[in-house]
Amino acid sequence: MTGNLKENSLHVGVLVILAALFFVVSDYHDGNLARIMVLAVYAVGYNLLFGYSGLLSLGHALFFAAGMYGLGLSMNLLGFAALPALLVGIVFSAGVSAIVGFLALRTSGVAFMIVTLMFAQAGFLTALHFGEYTRGDEGFVIQQASRMIAGIDLSAHANRYFAAFGFFALSYVAVAILVRSPFGRCLVAIRENEERARMLGYDVWMHKYLAVIASGTISGLSGAAYALLFGYAGATFASVQYSILPLLWVLLGGAGTTIGPLIGTAFAFYLIDLASEITTAHLLVVGLTIVLLTLFAPQGISGELRRRGLKWLP
């Protein structure tokens, strides 16, 4: 099918461009791009739940932070090497999302938003409460010497870029495959009309539950990767702001599109970057842009592209 060919070409193209950019742009932008790619993993995870399943969570910072602390604390307190610590981060965020999902999915709509928000706040306060280990808001540094996998120093410029690229490529391709699978199609059906999906014989609750776990685990991977590549973990990442950010990125980039999370994350990152060069009131510029986008491209950037002719955009 030509649609599939176009989709695959797009996905490969995006990854090739990201890899090539390292050799093209300056070190400063390389650094930015590494950060964007790691955060885009978070947005990809969020988009799976919000964009494809239609579940608006306001508590994803909990999953991000679970991955971050899972890695950071196991390295700093238990002396784990980077790779096992990364696994701890992923498994921990999967566990947290399994518990939160199990309880939060008893609700839906606004109640779901509030319940997830409350869980995330509880997580944030827990991180502060155990400040002795987490060092609270101040956070802690993960020593450069321990940020190595298979002898590769992940704090080095090029290594960090390509590690970030690897994490992004992994989650991007995984979600692109997932949303095209029968499972992903059913998530979209649930988003569109839950009752109809149920009356087609789908176990709606189980599909949503698995979506929460997958979404939370990818978010946790992002948190763990962030701590690993940038050497820092702190409670700010568990705060409500970090629950709102992925929602914002996904809305800007285009919810329910595979490429949207990357576009949205990059767009928001550079918007803040450029605006703060021009004025100290950079959040005003950001706010205004968001208002304009919401007014004129409510489907986000890639959603708007899809509406204007690129109907095949996955």
Partner: protein, 237 residues
């Protein structure tokens, strides 16, 4: 053998007994119509059969098993299909995808086989040429037909249709009757219908509900001749 049976099935809303101790049975392969005046409890009854709403008491048996405690999706999995009275298609998905969602659940087929099956079903209801259109862009009548196609795609043992011809044009109703006759024998059909013409021409047996109770049951001729039915529903004629 009866494919579907209910025993003393009841459901009330507030003080109103919408379904009141209904004993009901449909043998395998039969086309059964369920008729009755507005508010007779027809939709509530089938909703309780397929699990959309919980019955308060009584039991539902399907394919020899007691399914009273199963959630809706498990009942559908066992071989029921249900089309909604109020059109409920996935408006933002294509007609093809609407049907494919049903086909994919029942059959672990490759992409190509699913495509083929979907097109076959769409062709059967006359929507093959519109397979790439968003369901929401289809006309109301076509959306009704798509609902039916979504049911057909599941190849159900029992096909429950809640007012399928509502809003269809004359020609489409003829097509629909033709479709039911084709399905008859292979698929057991439970049809809630207001269009008496459709009921009399397609149903082998008719059950008449009134105020939540079974008022009469029989062949179209028997039901037509029943004086209680005439009084309650058909008018004095």
């Amino acid at each position: 053998m009866n494919l579907l049976e209910t025993r003393c099935l009841s459901r009330s809303f507030g003080g109103l007994k919408a379904v009141d101790n209904v004993d009901f049975a449909v043998p395998e392969g039969q086309v059964r119509a369920l008729i009755g005046p507005n508010g007779a409890g027809k939709s509530t009854f089938v909703a309780a059969v397929c699990g959309r709403i919980r019955a308060e008491s009584g039991s539902v048996h399907f394919d020899g098993k007691d399914i009273s405690r199963l959630p809706a999706h498990r009942r559908i999995e066992m071989g029921m299909a249900y089309t909604f009275q109020i059109t409920s298609v996935f408006a933002n998905l294509t007609a093809h995808e609407n049907v494919a969602l049903g086909v994919r659940r029942i059959a672990r087929l490759g992409r190509r086989d699913i495509d083929q099956k979907v097109m076959e079903v769409l062709d059967r209801v006359g929507l093959a040429e519109r397979s790439d259109q968003s369901a929401g862009d289809l006309s109301y009548g076509h959306q009704r037909l798509l609902e039916i196609a979504m049911g057909l795609g599941q190849m159900p043992k029992l096909f429950i249709m809640d007012e399928p011809t509502q809003g269809l044009a004359e020609g489409e109703i003829e097509e629909f009757k033709h479709l039911i006759r084709q399905l008859a024998g292979d698929t057991t059909i439970l049809l809630i219908e207001h269009n008496m013409n459709v009921v009399m021409e397609t149903a082998e047996q008719i059950t008449v509900l009134n105020s939540g109770c079974v008022l009469a049951e029989g062949t179209p001729e028997e039901v037509r001749a029943n004086s209680d039915v005439q009084a309650a529903y058909l008018g004095t004629g």
